[in-house]
């Protein structure tokens, strides 16, 4: 060690260190950084359509720009939405920007939307992670003359023009219950594995599952409802417990996506493949193995590629003025005609992935 620890040396070097130069350095730093970004020029902003909005793109011949945001970027579900969106962008000849959060920072979606506003896109389409937060930014976008569409999960109604609704809770609940009844020949015990007992969307689905059961399948009996915290391992453990606790169980219905392969694995390990049926809401890729070997019978979801395709289509129609508030149907090009309920564009009935068709899908 040098003489640093002696008080005298300390005073000396702290003296040396105090910087007398550049009195207002941090202010300079800030102002220059700001100045650089501002002063460098507003000449480019002429091409922006921020204040010209819907009028601009078609007439000037500039390509329409649609910005599409997923809840999170690495999610296979949204990657497959993007495949559909890309296809639509190609068919329509529009420019598609796809960006979204890569980490759990809830402010990120807002930041991206705000950047898109100043970038001068024509339409913004968002799958909202944080409804209240994102609505603030989306209102700002609408205020700037940008059309706003939500898909997959909605924002506040006044923050967007249309919501592309992939499935109503009623549609999901009914499809699940009908499929369960079909596999059980309309009678017997079944159990549900859910993500958590408080998740709003799952509660909603259960309500419609129960309503459908009470109405049409009174010989079907729900014996248990277990949460798995959205974890595959926990779902597997719960399913194993269910199998031993209810020997007459005929079917397990998993209504959160990790629970479907979890339940299938439990049934398979118990040697009950085929005897106890497994169905649920999930992605084809996660369940392909179990579906093909016959442990899982049906995976229910919507065609995510269609969701992406329809979203871009609706976004474009909104920008060109073809789609207006109050419309009751929407021409989805090669996908056919879609119903509009209020300001919800409905994707339609859920889709059933089974042994016969699952290989046509990769997501």
């Amino acid at each position: 060690m040098r003489d640093e620890s002696s008080p005298l040396a300390l005073r000396r070097w702290t003296g040396v260190y105090s910087d007398r130069s550049n009195v207002m350095r941090p202010i300079l730093v800030l102002l220059t950084a700001l100045g650089l970004t501002l002063a460098a020029g507003c000449k480019k902003s002429e091409t922006t359509s921020v204040d010209g909005g819907a009028a601009g793109p078609g007439s000037t011949g500039r390509k329409l720009t649609i910005a599409l945001m997923p809840k999170s970027k690495g999610n296979a579900y949204f990657v497959s939405c993007k495949q559909g969106a890309d296809a639509a962008a190609k068919d329509l000849g529009v420019e598609l920007i796809f960006d979204g959060p890569v980490n759990p920072d809830p402010a990120k979606q807002n930041e991206i939307v705000e950047n898109w506003i100043t970038l001068g896109v024509d339409v913004i389409a968002v799958a909202c992670e944080n409804k209240d937060g994102i609505s603030t930014a989306l209102r700002k976008a609408r205020h700037a003359g940008i059309k706003v569409v939500t898909y997959d999960s909605d924002a506040a109604p006044d923050a967007r023009d249309f919501f592309v609704n992939q499935a109503t809770p009623e549609g999901i609940g009914t499809a699940l219950m009908d499929e369960a009844a079909r596999l059980c020949a309309n009678e017997g015990e079944f159990a549900i594995i859910t993500a958590s007992l408080t998740a709003q969307n799952m509660i909603e689905w259960q309500k419609f599952i129960e309503a459908r059961r009470a109405m049409k399948f009174s010989k079907m009996k729900m014996v248990a409802l277990r949460p798995c915290d959205d974890l595959k391992d926990k779902a597997q453990a719960e399913a194993t417990t269910l199998l031993s606790a209810y020997p007459n169980l005929k079917l397990i219905m998993a209504i959160c996506s990790p629970a479907v392969p979890g339940a299938a694995e439990a049934v398979k390990q118990a040697g009950k493949s085929g005897k106890v049926k497994v169905i649920g809401l999930g992605l084809p890729n996660e369940n392909r193995r179990y579906v093909k070997e016959g442990t899982t019978d049906t995976v229910i979801l919507w065609k995510t590629t269609d969701l992406g395709y329809l979203t871009v289509l609706a976004a474009q129609a909104l920008a060109t003025g073809e789609l207006k508030a109050g419309a009751t149907s929407f021409n989805g090009g090669k996908l056919g005609e879609f119903k509009i309920a209020g300001d919800n564009i409905l994707l339609g009935e859920p889709f059933k992935f089974t042994k016969d068709n699952i290989d046509q899908f990769d997501f």
Partner: protein, 341 residues
């Protein structure tokens, strides 16, 4: 001793070099995005950059004195989350007027900081461990207050102005950031407090022998961090229009990245507030600019993480190389600092 520490003379010198490197980086970034990006150099986008960075900027500012003392505060992001939730709770559920809820929130931030400070100075626990604990503790508190799902929203326009409005042409937050940076700069570079922070960073025992009030100065740094996290919680809530338990998640790491990029030694003793602000600006411009270049528009989020890491390594390498060069020159005995010793 684990880290190689600079002597104050070489430290100050290498800092100045490091800041020059950062200036070059910043100017290059701005020029590049001005040419390659769409609508980058507009006033609105300038406002965007400031708005999106202000919380991390504030946290990085108060992280600077802490790292100068050789400490670290991993709990600032969680403190932000807790303060945001508490602010919402006080306003909506306790029915307090906004200004009072705001003041109490600042008080809560100070309490969080004081809690860290007490454990660090009284029990002499390492800051890394203490704040790692409160990192989970504060976030956990925020989550249990709201059960993880409750979100506070529908704040009045007068409050949202803080996050969305403009004062004299600049975003409201720009003034807050400006005020905070001048304040912290004065504290660190113009008062004996600042010297004391550096002295502690060089050698806590040395500082103690020199008769410096090490404990009180450390406490000041951590309490200040808590208060600033509360300020950031208010601007964050006003910007998003909502307060939820996940507010500010991961911000502590962004703040530390900016501080280290700004040339402050993680071992303490050497660093500057202007460097930190340069670090913040370099990261902010990069991540904003990437979302405006046609080629990177659709992978801006991934790239900005990747390039921030690259930038950090590049800037530190560049300044380490120039420091090595500077050392050699120092050894030659031509420098006045050398003569002084």
């Amino acid at each position: 001793m684990f880290g190689r520490k600079d002597t104050p003379a070489t430290g100050a010198l290498s800092l100045r070099r490091h800041e020059t490197v950062l200036w070059v980086v910043l100017v290059l970034e701005v020029l590049f995005f001005q040419f390659a990006g769409r609508n980058f150099g507009t006033a609105d986008n300038g406002a965007n950059i400031v708005r999106h960075t202000v919380e991390i900027g504030l946290l990085a500012l108060v992280m600077t004195p802490i790292i100068l003392t050789g400490g670290i505060d991993l709990s600032v992001g969680s403190t932000l989350g807790l303060c945001a939730v508490l602010f919402g709770k006080l306003w909506r559920d306790a029915g307090l007027p906004l200004w009072l809820a705001g003041v109490l929130t600042l008080g809560n931030g100070a309490l969080c900081g004081a809690f860290n400070a007490t454990l660090i100075t009284r029990l002499r626990l390492p800051p890394l461990i203490v704040t790692l604990g409160t990192f989970s503790l504060f976030r956990g508190l925020a989550e249990s207050i709201t059960h993880g799902v409750d979100a506070f929203t529908h704040f009045p326009e007068s409050f949202l102005f803080l996050g969305l409005g403009r004062v004299a042409g600049l975003p409201t937050q720009a003034w807050i950031l400006l005020g905070a940076s001048v304040g912290i700069w004065l504290l660190v570079h113009r008062t004996t407090f600042g010297r004391c922070f550096r002295a502690i960073g060089f050698s806590p025992e040395g500082a103690r022998y020199a008769g410096l009030p090490v404990e009180r100065r450390l406490a000041l740094a951590y309490v200040l961090a808590g208060v600033m996290a509360a300020v950031a919680a208010l601007t964050y809530t006003a910007r998003l229009g909502t307060a939820k338990a996940d507010a500010g998640m991961g911000y502590e790491l962004y703040a530390i990245t900016a501080v280290v990029l700004g040339g402050t030694s993680i071992f303490g003793g050497v660093g500057s507030v202007s460097g930190t602000m340069l670090g913040v600006a370099a990261i902010a411009v990069l991540s904003n600019g990437l979302s405006r270049v046609p080629a990177t528009m659709s992978n801006a989020a991934e790239l900005s993480g990747l390039l921030t890491g690259g930038l950090l390594i590049l800037a530190l390498t560049a300044s380490a190389l120039s420091r090595g060069w500077g050392r050699r020159r120092l050894r030659g005995g031509r420098s006045e600092e050398r003569v002084e010793r």
